[in-house]
Amino acid sequence: MASIIKGVDALLPLSLPLFHMLLSLTEGERHGYALKREILQRTDKRINLGSGALYGAINKMLEQGLIVESDERPDPHLDDERRRYYRITPLGRRVVHAEAARLRALLQLAEVRLGIPDPV
């Protein structure tokens, strides 16, 4: 267990695109382009992942065991066999949780230091 926690810590902090991608995948399986669209929308077009950056990040997360490729495919006439679908792993979930917790702690520290009032 200790080694998993240590493993999780070693993967932090996540880069912003990685965090967004993992966050999207917690809601269900996605293919690459769907991930890109979702992140684009969610960040108000601020994070626009090109295919190289996207698949580079996917490749990295696959290697780290944060995601796996999914075997389940949608209805064949809706699908293109070249599309790749990905699913988050339990390790991926722990990592994205840990990152969220880290960000929250950081935010709380900032609120205290800067005296930002809690939203009412």
């Binding site: 382009y33 090109g50 295919s51 190289g52 950056a53 996207l54 580079g56 490749n59 070249r82």
Partner: protein
């Protein structure tokens, strides 16, 4: 219309193989989706800008990541078999290092520009119609009206005595027209160089000194500007110090603008004029050459007489400076190239063996889905890691080689201040490493093309004979043997020529002799009988040193690089002898030199009781006169006095320029008759002559400190300086041939050894069926010897083809001898057979039962 998605797919080729294999389809799909969603030309432009910047950022990142992985994998592969990796890296390091080192000298000599402004337009005019001898006005007239030269300078260089208040020094002085520095576009480091009118009478009492002389004689004192120095007694003002990197025309200590006014510094003897010029812009060398020849023909038609008179020529200054050793440098570069090729063939063979050994691993990976380009990338990275490490280590070897080669070879390059290892050389080494890495990347690729996953995996449990790699390896061994034999023949030829040089009879005995020079120019002994009194005193002082056996003196000492003046001498009865070097000697000179007096006698000190002055000729003179030994007692007419001289004796012919060159005819007259202003003394001593150097120098300096005593050394030292070049070439070629031999032997050994491992199963069956160990060994040996035999044949052809180039290295190299082919061939064959035989001892360790069982 352009298919934009096709264009995008092309862009995807920038990604590394593995990444592309995995995501190419998905990325292509991704791009099509983006394209579908983009509306209007603005969004389409945005899409492409984004896609391009995405590729530009992510492709290098993925390349680095994947190559990192490949590199780690390569290191693990090499770590498992470290010995062959170490051998390959070592071989490459030596080969790349040696080539780079020699290239650094070649590049310094032949490729780089001279340290003069716009050096490519500088030319030397050999036998120009106008030298300083024509006088200032004529020279200026010719220069200003030249159609091909923008400017020209003329100069003459000689040795003089410099007296600046302390001990007198012997220095090399270039007397020049005032524009030499401005022509070469060189500024003074301290003070100034000459201004235009300073080569006119009355204004030319100024000098510029070299940086070296400034440091050595003046301790780098900046306040010397304006001080007075005496050159051969003439008082001249120092106006500047030349920059340290400037040394033209070579080994110069002082420049003086007195070339049109030779009366400023008193002169004796003949001079050699040199003229250099700067071409007008837009005029090519060949154009200038034609105009120059027309110029010479117009001014001086005699220059084109069909006899031996020198032919006028205009050549680039760089070519002129490098001409003497250009051929040698190119030959050495070729020799090094042969070693490099041997090494590359060897490493290629090694890598090929390794790839063949890993055939199964690669086939398995291919069957598991690795693409061909993925495997090629892996093998290329492995090869590149090997060559790059080899090249990095090779830089250290290059540094050593360059230092040695630079120290010994280009003495003439003192003119050029250059660093041996600069970016040219670095680029050369990197290119060499890249080419070899690429070549070794290509070869395994070619093999992979032949890997058929299905058949290879199916055949995994059977011995593979790999006919392609085997024959390719045989070719590589053949090549190594051929290159090595070419080198062995060269080293045999050059080595025997060197031995011949060492054993050449010089006409004198260089052991046990000390030599030193004195010059009386500008001293108080210069006039009248004072000269002879001084020389007699030197002779007496040297003779009184304990251990000195004989003392003599001469005008021109052998091995001293003096410029010899030759003339024609008329026999009183009989023919003329031409090309005779007139040399003056003091009694005892021949005895001190160990020259053999073949007939007659030496001069005595007292010439008063002979009615005719005596002269001694050498054997070559006696032979060419047609009289042979009977010349003694005959008379010659001396061209310098037109008086008859009596031939008193014949002495053995001295090789003046060292063992490489035959000695010509010489006549020695007694120097007492008309003492020259400089003489070289020789003292033969008992025991090691080096122990006498200081003693002899001090004895002569003690006589009068204002007379410079210089070039105090042993005759052996002079001989070894003359032999420096031949010795360097011989050592380098021998060393490089030995290196190639070592590499080739390793190649032969590994092929034979590999043939056994590869065929262990088959050999096991043969043994089980009753073949004796000797029969098996003979079988392997026969197969191993075939490529060696072919290599030897190719090597003989190669050596015969390029052997004659060697003759440019030094005189006496003769490649036509059959022995120079037979001996190295037999030597190489013997070594190769011995190596292959010793490799076959592995056969003895084969257990037939194990060998057969292991394959099933």
């Amino acid at each position: 219309m352009i298919d934009v998605t096709k264009l995008y797919r092309k862009l995807l080729r920038l990604y590394p193989a593995s990444f592309r294999q995995e995501y190419e389809g998905a990325m292509d799909r991704h791009f099509r989706d983006e394209q579908r969603d983009a509306q209007g030309w603005k969004e389409n432009v945005g899409l492409w800008t984004h896609a391009l910047s995405d590729v530009a950022i992510s492709a290098p990142r993925e390349l680095v990541r994947e190559f990192g992985q490949d590199l780690r994998f390569a290191l693990r592969v090499y770590w498992r078999r470290p010995l062959s990796a170490v051998i390959a890296i070592g071989t490459l390091a030596f080969a790349i290092g040696a080539s780079t080192g020699v290239f650094s000298v070649t590049s310094a000599l032949l490729l780089r520009t001279l340290p003069f402004g716009d050096a490519s337009r500088l030319v030397e005019l050999r036998f120009s119609p106008f030298s300083a001898g024509n006088g200032h006005a004529n020279f200026a007239e010719w220069r200003n009206h030249s159609s091909y030269l923008e400017n020209a300078a003329t100069f003459s260089t000689s040795e003089m005595n410099l007296n600046s208040g302390r001990d007198a020094l012997r220095v090399r002085v270039t007397e020049t027209s005032a524009n030499l520095f401005s022509l070469l576009d060189v500024q003074a480091q301290l003070g100034r160089t000459f201004v235009p009118e300073e080569d006119r009478t009355g204004k030319n009492h100024v000098i510029v000194i070299s940086h070296r002389l400034w440091q050595q004689a003046y301790g780098g004192n900046p306040s010397l500007i304006g001080s007075v120095a005496h050159l051969d007694g003439a008082a001249l003002t120092i106006i500047g110090v030349a920059p340290s990197r400037f040394d033209y025309p070579g080994n110069v200590d002082v420049w003086a603008p007195t070339v049109f006014d030779f009366e400023v510094i008193p002169k004796h003897g003949a001079f050699i004029w040199q003229t250099i010029g700067r071409l007008r812009s837009g005029i090519s060398i060949s154009q200038a050459r034609q105009e120059f020849k027309a110029d010479v023909a117009h001014v001086n038609p005699k220059s084109f007489r069909p006899d031996n008179s020198p032919i006028p020529e205009l050549i680039g200054l760089r070519d002129q400076l490098s001409s003497q050793i250009r051929a040698s440098v190119l030959i050495l570069s070729s020799v090094v190239l042969l070693v490099l090729l041997t090494a590359l063939a060897n490493v290629a063979q090694l890598l090929l063996s390794r790839t063949a050994e890993r055939h199964r691993e690669l086939a398995l990976r291919s069957a598991l889905g690795a693409s061909r380009s993925r495997l090629i990338q892996q093998l290329t990275v492995e090869a590149a890691a090997l060559t790059m490490s080899g090249a990095a280590l090779g830089m250290i070897v290059a540094l050593l080689v360059a230092r040695v080669a630079g120290a010994v070879m280009p003495a003439q390059l003192a003119t050029q201040d250059y660093t041996l290892l600069d970016w040219h050389v670095l680029c050369f080494a990197i290119a060499l490493a890249l080419i070899t890495g690429f070549a070794f990347g290509i070869m395994p690729t070619w093999l992979i093309g032949r890997i058929q996953p299905s058949t290879q995996v199916a055949r995994m449990h059977f011995g593979t004979s790999e006919p392609v790699t085997s024959s390719l390896r045989a070719v590589l061994v053949g090549l190594q043997v051929a290159f090595t034999l070419t080198l062995l023949v060269s080293s045999f030829t050059i080595g025997s020529a060197f031995l011949r040089l060492v054993h050449t009879d010089l006409g004198f005995q260089p052991a046990n002799a000390v030599t030193l020079k004195v010059s009386l120019e500008g001293t108080r002994y210069q006039v009248g009988s004072a000269k002879w009194q001084y020389y007699s005193a030197v002779e007496e002082r040297l003779r009184s040193i304990p251990g000195v056996k004989a003392v003599g003196a001469v005008n021109y000492l052998p091995l001293s690089n003096s410029v010899l003046m030759a003339g024609t001498i008329q026999m009183e009865s009989g023919p003329k002898v031409s090309g005779v070097v007139l040399n003056g000697s003091m009694p005892g000179y021949f005895r001190a030199m160990g020259s053999e007096l073949i007939a007659g006698r030496d001069f005595g000190f007292d010439l008063s009781n002979s009615p005719e002055p005596p002269v001694i000729v050498n054997e070559a003179f006696a032979r060419e006169s047609g009289f042979g030994p009977n010349i003694v007692g005959r008379r010659i007419i001396a061209p310098w006095t037109s008086r008859p001289y009596l031939v008193a004796g014949i002495v053995s012919t001295a090789r003046m320029a060292g063992p490489e060159y035959e000695g010509g005819p010489q006549a020695y007259w007694p120097v007492k008759e008309e003492p020259p202003s400089a003489l070289t003394f020789v003292a033969s001593v008992s025991g090691d002559p080096r122990h006498y150097l200081t003693q002899c120098r001090d004895a002569v300096v003690g006589l009068d400190r204002s007379v410079p005593v210089y070039e105090v050394k042993t005759l052996d030292q002079s001989l070894s300086e003359t032999m420096e070049r031949p010795r360097f070439y011989t050592t380098s070629v021998l060393f490089l041939a030995a290196l190639a031999l070592l590499i080739a032997v390793a190649g032969v050994y590994s092929t034979s050894a590999r043939a056994i491992t590869q065929r262990e199963h088959e050999l096991g069956v043969r043994i089980a069926l009753g073949a004796s160990m000797q029969q098996i060994r003979t079988l392997i040996l026969r197969q191993g010897t075939i490529p060696v035999a072919f290599g030897i044949l190719a090597g003989i052809a190669g050596a015969a083809g390029c052997g004659h180039f060697l003759q440019h290295l030094f005189v006496g190299i003769n490649v036509s001898g059959v022995m120079s082919f037979i001996v190295p061939s037999l030597f190489l064959l013997l070594i190769a057979v011995g190596t292959a035989w010793s490799a076959t001892t592995r056969v003895l360790t084969i257990d037939p039962i194990e060998a057969i069982r292991a394959e099933h």
